[in-house]
Amino acid sequence: MPDSTGTIYDIGYRGYDGPRLGRRGAIGAIVSAGLRAVFGLGRSGRSKILPWGAVVLAVLPAGVAVAIRVLAGDLIDLYSYDNYLWGIGALLPIFIAAQAPELVVNDMRHRVLPLYFSRPISRVDYVAAKLAAMSFGLLALTLLPVLLLFFGRVLAAEDALAAVGDEIGALPAIIGSGVLHAVVLASIGLAICSVAGRRAYAAGAVLAVFLVGGVMGGTFGSQGGGLEAIAPFVNPLAILDGAREWLFGGSVVESPVGAAGVPMYLYGLAVAVLIAVSWAVLAMRYRSVAT
């Protein structure tokens, strides 16, 4: 007999017998949630403006360069694979200042960390997952535009197949510099944010480090008298440019690296120091958090 009145059943508590993904799943969840935070996904429209604005601005020159190549052929080369990241350098600190605090500051400030640490992950896993999220996010600026430039140049050529042959040699350098920039900048950014108490302070501190570094580097570079040799080493972006040139070659005219005239391996050393210091700061900061 059909029940015509209809009933709402309280189905009670249901257990869970499905798969448990453990530590691996936990780390994956933090990375993907972190990536969503970096790009303001699932958040208000206002919090999307900055990250997506930065991505658009970073990609724009690649688009222009490809357009010029299509219209004017090989007449001018505004952007090459080598100088692209230096060219959009100003966008990187802004992107980091706006988005890195989203990843770490609230968990620390509102004491959410004990909840994470009561899950199948360790403190190192947590920090590594956040670093991965920030690095992947940064690739949208440090790798995506240069890849676009690459594909644009290939597709704009009259003989695309031959162009692939010409350009393919640049691919390791493109990917290598993109990843290098992303990982080092993410490390610096998160280290600074992890010691700041609030998101606004964190953003300010990130901007300050890069602005001061940039200005000091510029001043030193134009002073002469030996100062130009240390000029690149006060600016993280110049250190990265030097390391890029050391690893993959191709000098950038505007960068203080050329004028410094120091052995190139020093930039590799400086990058190692930057990473070591950043990770040490992160390790100390997160070790001191009570469970």
Binding site: G12, Y13, R14, G15, Y16, G18, P19, R20, L21, G22, R23, G25, A26, G28, A29, I30, A33, G42, N106, D107, H110, R111, V112, P114, L115, Y116, F117, S118, R119, P120, I121, S122, T291
Partner: protein
């Protein structure tokens, strides 16, 4: 098999502060009250059980896993609700609980489904889509409980879950804890310094003091009838007790309360009721309450 076993568990913090002092205890299923004054070592014990804090000496096993070496596996099957605030204000309860479900190892789809289930069970409905920052303390406590439940743990560790709640909120939280233990079949360990609350929900009691085990007891045994009747009147009960004693019944008045020994009446429980009724009518005393007196949890500490 016990869910938790500790053997001579000791934790000393730098500066010679001893939080746990050779604690040996076995904890089985049910709702377990972990009682002790603030600083008795309850939170330290919980952190060692979660594998987050190394013990100075001794060993702890949870779900037959070693807390010192298999913490990650333990934490996959245990839910933890800390005492302090631990919620980000700018995300919704749905978003947060579902995220924590995934961080506990659930696949994304399962985390979403279970979040909806669990938030309904803890009593969060329309408000679950709003940012947590705007929630009342009671609602925040429910979110904290939900994030501990979302991955269907076999064991729940709740650290002072009624902290900061008003009396109505306390009642609701305690009812929820009782339901989780009884209907959900999840063993719950409730750490609290409030005996009166533990008494209402716990089936077992583990009392710790200064890092040592004071006593474990099954509360159903413990709160059994004492063979005494507790009578409350609206005025001084002394004249009533006097009259009962004249009838040969053992009775002691204490202000408006009176304790009557049922066995002393000789001819059964009901004659005691009759005597109390008749004598209070004769004295024009209003009776407020007559009940079997049970052991109080406080007695447990008095004995120890």
């Amino acid at each position: 098999m016990p869910l938790i076993t500790t053997r001579a568990l000791t934790k000393r913090y730098p500066g010679n502060v001893t939080a746990l002092d050779g604690l040996t205890v076995e904890i089985g299923e049910g709702v377990i009250g972990l009682v002790g004054a603030n600083g008795a070592g309850k939170s330290t014990l919980i952190k060692i059980l979660l594998g987050l804090l190394p013990a100075t000496a001794g060993e702890a096993r949870v779900l037959d896993l070693d807390a010192a070496t298999q913490g990650s596996a333990i934490r996959e099957l245990v839910g933890y609700m800390p005492e302090h605030d631990c919620l980000p204000p700018d995300v919704s309860a749905t978003e947060f609980v579902s995220h924590m479900g995934r961080v506990s190892g659930l696949p994304a789809g399962a985390a979403r489904e279970r979040t909806a289930d669990v938030l309904r069970h803890v009593g969060l409905y329309e408000e679950r889509y709003r940012p947590i920052g705007g929630y009342s303390t009671g609602m925040k406590q429910r979110v904290k409980l939900a994030q501990a439940l979302v991955h269907d743990p076999r064991l729940l560790l709740l650290d002072e879950p009624t902290n900061g709640l008003d009396p109505a909120g306390r009642d609701e939280m305690l009812a929820l804890i009782e339901r989780i233990g009884r209907d959900f079949g999840i063993t719950v360990i409730v750490a609290s310094h409030l005996l009166g609350e533990i008494e209402r929900v716990a089936t077992w009691l583990v009392a710790v003091d200064a890092g040592r085990l004071l006593r474990t007891a099954q509360l159903t045994d413990f709160t059994e009838r004492t063979g005494q009747l507790l009578v409350e009147t609206d005025e001084d009960a002394a004249p009533l007790a006097q009259r009962l004693v004249e009838r040969g019944i053992e009775a002691h008045a204490d202000g408006r309360n009176m304790v009557v020994d049922i066995a002393s009446a000789g001819d059964g429980e009901f004659s005691v009721y009759d005597a109390v009724r008749d004598e209070s009518v004769a004295l024009s005393l209003a009776l407020i309450r007559i009940e079997h007196r049970r052991h109080q949890l406080e007695d447990l500490f008095r004995d120890a």
